[in-house]
């Protein structure tokens, strides 16, 4: 039974600022949910603290609005306890790349099979517009008293260094691309990052919608704006790492990812930068230790007998620790 958009929306009042890129992300996510081949009852969305974090309340799926910067460990805990869940973690750029940078790096090392979407608006929205880690050095968005004093991180490169096996970028107001990218991220086996360029009309007056869509630079002939955002996959770029590639091939691809990810200004690349399903997921790795992990994961194990007693038979363990007898 196909879901309609209305099924995956709650009827709460949405309190984002009008024109906020978050609306685009919300819509794309919800459309992806209706089109994806997953049981909506198994979908759990985690978010952090920031404007972005409210997305779970507008979305009609299990929704866990966690702590600032801690989205990833919360989400991984749920997924590892019940690998049958379809887990989507969502952060802001302050949340995910700022205070959450440590978890960002270490989650890459695990490669748990889930999706991570980051609302990348260059600012700390909910605390009134301080610079986020993706804001460039020397930029001065509206509410900064002085130009930004920190250099920006490149999330694509950071993800690559950390071990993410699917790395993509999309744009909040390109609904179709974002929706498709989310679907591909969810379908990916392993940890998938979708960095979403998100205008914040209230605090970021530099990377605006007009900026991304190139309204300041009309095509001389058509007089229509030439968007800065372009889809790398439309230029023939192929993000896939395949098993038949040599180490050199992989190295080359990696370097290409980084080269492209450094583009900014007149051309801003979106699309899937990197996909590698040859790295075992964390679930695969657990299976090597706990053979029945996927059949009987932590969340579904019977822990008690009919008579309420513990289902565990401690005897061999106790014996191991017993002396004499």
């Amino acid at each position: 039974m196909a879901l309609k958009l209305a099924d995956v929306r709650t009827d709460l009042h949405n309190d984002w600022c009008s024109g906020c890129g978050d609306f685009g992300i919300e819509a794309s996510l919800q459309m992806a949910l209706t089109e994806m081949n997953v049981d909506i009852h198994r979908v759990v969305i985690f978010s952090g603290i920031g404007c972005h974090g409210k997305i779970v309340h507008w979305t009609n799926a299990f929704g866990i609005h966690t702590l600032h910067g801690r989205t990833l460990p919360f989400a991984q805990g749920a997924k590892l306890a019940n690998p049958g869940l379809e887990v989507i973690a969502i952060s802001g750029d302050g949340d995910g790349y700022g205070i959450g940078a440590g978890h960002f790096v270490h989650s890459g090392r695990r490669n748990v099979d889930m999706t991570y979407i980051v609302h990348d608006n260059g600012v700390y929205g909910l605390t009134k517009g301080q610079a986020s880690p993706t804001q460039k050095l020397g930029e001065q968005t509206k509410s900064l008293p002085q130009p930004n004093i920190n250099s920006a991180v490149n999330p694509i490169m950071l993800a690559l260094a950390a071990g993410y096996t699917f790395i993509a970028r999309s744009y909040a107001f390109d609904n179709r691309h974002l929706k498709d990218t989310i679907k591909r991220a969810v379908a990916h086996r392993g940890l998938a990052l979708v960095d979403v360029l998100q205008p914040c009309p209230t605090y970021n007056d530099i990377e605006t919608k007009a900026f991304y869509s190139g309204e300041d630079r009309p095509d001389p002939s058509t007089h229509r704006p030439v968007p800065r955002v372009y889809d790398i996959e439309k230029t023939g770029y192929n993000p896939l790492i395949t098993t038949d590639m040599t180490n050199e091939d992989v190295d080359k691809k990696t370097l290409e990812v980084i080269r492209i990810s450094n583009e900014w200004g007149d051309r801003i690349p979106v699309g899937v930068f990197y996909q590698n399903e040859n790295v075992p997921t964390y679930e695969d790795r657990i299976m090597r230790r706990v053979p029945f992990y996927l059949d009987q994961p932590p969340a579904t194990q019977q822990i008690q007998l009919q008579n309420k007693k513990s289902a565990v038979d401690l005897s061999s363990l106790l014996k191991e620790l017993t002396i004499g007898g």
């Binding site: 009852h41 929704g63 609005h65 306890a81 978890h103 270490h106 309420k308 002396i323």
Partner: protein, 656 residues
Amino acid sequence: MSSKTVNELNWMIGGAQGSGVDLSASSFARSCALAGLWVYGTREYYSNIKGLHSYFEIRTSGRQIRSKVEGVDLLATFDAETVVRHADAVNPDGGIIYDPAVSQTPIEKVDTLYKDEVRQIQARLAQEGLGSDVDAILEEAKGRGVKLFAIPYGALIQEIAKRLETSELTRLNRIVNVLAVSVSLSLLGLDRRYMEESVRQAFAASRKQKLVEMNLAGVDRAYEFAKEKFGEGGLPIRLAPIQNKPRMFVVGNQAVALGKMAGGCRLQTYYPITPASDESEFLEAHENFDLLGGESNDGKGSIVVVQTEDEIAAVTMAIGGALAGTRAATSTSGPGFSLMVEGMGWAGMNEVPVVVTLYQRGGPSTGMPTRTEQGDLKFVLNASHGEFPRMVLCSGDMEECFYDAFRAMNYAERYQLPVIHLVDKGLANSNMTILPPDPNLVDIERGKLILTSGGGAPKDGEYRRFAPAEDGISPRAVLGLKGYRFWNTGDEHDELGHINENSENRIRMMKKRMSKLETADREIPVTEKVGFYAAAGRPDVTLVSWGSSKGAILEGMELLEKRGIKAEFLQIRLASPFPAQAVRERLSEAKLVIDIEQNYSAQMAAVIAEKTQINIKHRVVKFNGRPISCNEIYDSVRQIVARPEANERVILTHGA
């Protein structure tokens, strides 16, 4: 030889970390246990991997024992430092086993002593007109009546090498431990077969036959040598086998791990920290375990143990797991807990069952990572901003470690809140023989948990995670359960779990959450809240304490009774919700109350004052990182009973 004490012994062995002292201690303890004796052992060591001094005290007895005792009956050493550090702890009629090769070592050459320590010892020896080397220390001991047993380890090892026709002297050198233990046991008259069996068991896992042989040869030669050289040795103590019933020989963190396993914990997250990580590593080593009557999965259950990037991730990952419906826990020590408090608050706000086992150690900050303390009580009671309900259990001994770990998992789910299980390094690193715990003494109680669709179905069709409830506890569904969608947020929320800042909603939700503590207080039997140990007769003094001081207090009470002081003991086992009524009742009748704690400021006394307005004036505190002995209890209580007005605060200082 009828004047000998039988089966009451305090044995000590020391040496550099990593030189095999732990192996010696456990083979000694194991030998005793194999002979049917009860054992209680403690371990002291520095925050160091190799080279700094560590030592074990193994008490053994014909009856169950549960505390450290002052005075060493037999000190086994094979280096200079152990003699220097511990000779003065040997009882006048006790003995010291030493290597004559180190007896000329000057004190100042023991470079793992702090400079201050060297100066102090030198000054002491100078005052006594003695030299300034190991020999002087030995002489000093001898002067007090201590027997000295010189063991030429080097020569013995050479002989063994010859016998075994091996030249692997470096490997053989490691059997110095076995020699020291065997000589000890020989002096104490315990048949060598126990030590032999102990050696076999110790190396059973490694499957290195060669190693077993070497060590058995060591046992052989050491017994021989001791017999030849010292005969019965003149020690006033004998060990004699008494029975042969099976006993468990466990350390505290194993007891906790077993309790968690039996209690249904299926996800444990952790970040390495002393002295907590041993528990997680034990669980990881036993991640696949047997189920009762289970057919599926070959009758195996499992626990997933995840090493996280930090303690923030550890607690939030456990919470994520709990939301999915598993019983989840994490385990840490003070510095780690300091990083977990924000996560605790979120769990409190969202009514998520999660268990944190907190192994207290010397604080503040990094403190004394390998020393014991009960310094975190008030912190955990108040940890994190704002107000939310939490439960705090304090275990007093090995058995309580097991049952409390089990119960903590129950409480968390029944009351849907974070539970902190307080233990300490003293418990975690002590080992003792106990009767195997019985998991069937506690039922698994999951409270208002909905695991399957249709269970506890919402009446109006819409599931409300935080629906109002008389007892404050709403039916709890898990992530992924069809028909039971819910939301969570650290913000104040409505019944569905959506952000809500309405004033009335706020008041209702605060009351609902906080009332769960009242429910717990009402439902939990008083026997799980406090332990009470009556005096034999009308008590002269009431001792109040919590946690690992329990063993020393119980044995101290026996000592006191022998001197005619009747003491009763009130053990606080549940610090939140605080059993104010039970405590008030006990204490308001008491004649003289003494609070005993292993921290600086007598934290439980503060909690008692807050909750009952009873000010316990007399306090015995210890905060040097070394566990309390039963003798310290005896001495300090006697001192206070004798002159209460002059002894309001007694600071215990024992322990090397």
